[in-house]
Symmetry: C2
Subunit: 296 residues, 2 copies
């Protein structure tokens, strides 16, 4: 969380390296950064809302840490600027949205708000979309519905990094599932999880610390379990939730496939092994689908 | 698969202990058995459809193996006979069904057929129900939607047997998730999985064979991993999908909680640790909720 000169204050802990940045300053910094590379102000705000919310919830891997990736999306022109998401077709309770290759959070917010509107009218709204991009933490969208007293759900497909049970090839992504439900006295249930054993960021952290990863997180190019984070980050891959076959890793694989059916297949977008690697900036993503539902 | 004298034929394998029973004979036997203990013919048929389908799919633990349990439900009068499921309230796309304490498969079929009807009208149908009972394999219901060209989903809460991460008490059930989707050339994707590492039946099998279970399936009364099936079947319990905390068992716990929110919480039925143990026949269940959705 660096790069900002005004609005800083020393942390109360006395740790000179720890600084606290007011939330609104962080938000304004992100908006200005994105505008610099050509983003519309409204789109920059949608993305800033998401990144700041991710940091605020403690998902530092998905917050400002990713700002450069999103900026590169515009610099390389792999993400569109001068467009808005549009409804391709709809029923009273469902819709297919074309994200027109805009930023994921722009398409995500549009689609979730459409789903919320439908849920108010029909009891449930399910919106799936194509032509989107990396949409950040899935929990951001399910929480958006929850904040309106609804039960929210969000899913997205992602770049391939999962090696299915009995396989040796990266076939699906980390396929997150998020479900948020309001509870009594301001409490809530927020589930926001990858369908792989761990998110890739956890392996990256172990690699940086030069530590081994626990057995059950990843496999090598032969599909065999490995404790070497470098191999998992390279041509190996992540194991599905459940780990090895003996401990039902195929269930995590099935959940990942479910997410892919909800997202890439249902929307007619790109799916599974055909999705490009975001970090490489070597193509258009064409991602994302999600839904939410209301109470009976 | 015993108890039937007519319609048997020797298996081609030459194994004298292996017999093949025509599907329709098996079905008729189940219907007659249930009628004997007082079931309405239509309800007996719904239950027979489910049990035979479970055996036919190879889920022998959930097929005729369970007939005695279902019969006991009527003998002990914990399940109602002279009623039908009813719609408590509904929107164009959602409904709350009261199962009136009928057999789970009677309530399940009614609710899934209602969801299918709503999906045809609104693009998606989500039905949740209370006052139900053990509904068998979840896949039976999602497949019912899939057979009509729809994307089907089914969930149910169950008797507590899961010990959450960092806990030592059985708090949730095996909370199955099922999603079925039609594919090209008659192919399909059918996911039908417990959100615990394994179903209880797998531990029972190991116990019968006097074998140890793999580390990662279950815990003892202190919440510590154990390889003794007797302890897991007793006051220990199953681990959530993902196993130990290090391999993200809390994700399986979160998925189990999601299922409980969809079922017990959303419908206003009994939930979590308050659900009675089916095998003991010591109370009314008040279970089950599920949904399905159509294509956009």
């Amino acid at each position: 969380m660096a790069g900002k000169a005004e609005g800083l204050s020393s942390a109360a802990s006395g740790d000179a390296s720890l600084i606290v940045i007011p939330r609104e300053e962080l938000h304004a910094f992100v908006v200005r950064s994105l505008e610099k590379v050509g983003a519309k102000t409204s789109h920059a705000r949608d993305l800033a809302d998401l990144l700041v919310a991710a940091d605020y919830r403690g998902h530092f891997s998905h917050g400002l840490n990713r700002l450069e990736f999103y900026m590169m999306d515009l610099v390389t022109k792999f993400v569109a600027v001068d467009a808005e998401p549009e409804i391709v077709k709809q029923t009273v309770a469902t819709a297919l949205v074309n994200g027109n290759n805009l930023y994921g959070p722009v398409v995500g917010k549009f689609s979730m708000d459409l789903a919320i509107k439908k849920a108010r009218e029909a009891g449930i709204g399910w919106v799936t979309c194509k032509g989107s991009n990396h949409f950040g933490i899935a929990g951001y969208y399910s929480i958006r519905a929850m904040e309106q007293g609804l039960l929210g759900m969000a899913f997205t497909n992602t770049s391939p990094k999962l090696v299915p049970t009995r396989a040796r090839t990266q076939t699906l992504g980390t396929g997150p599932i998020s479900v948020s439900a309001p509870a009594n006295n301001g409490d809530s249930m927020v589930l926001d999880m990858a369908t792989t054993v761990v998110a890739l960021g956890k392996v990256e952290v172990k690699n940086t610390l030069q530590e081994q990863i626990p057995l059950g997180w990843g496999v090598d190019t032969e599909g065999k379990p490995t404790t070497d984070p470098k191999i998992v980050l390279g041509d190996g891959g992540l194991m599905p939730l459940g780990g090895a076959e003996e401990t039902s890793g195929y269930k995590g694989y099935g959940l990942g496939l479910m997410v892919e059916v909800f997202c890439g297949i249902l929307s007619g977008a790109t799916f599974g092994p055909f999705i490009r690697n975001w970090a490489l900036h070597d193509g258009v993503a064409d991602l994302v689908s999600y839904m939410r539902k209301g109470k009976n």
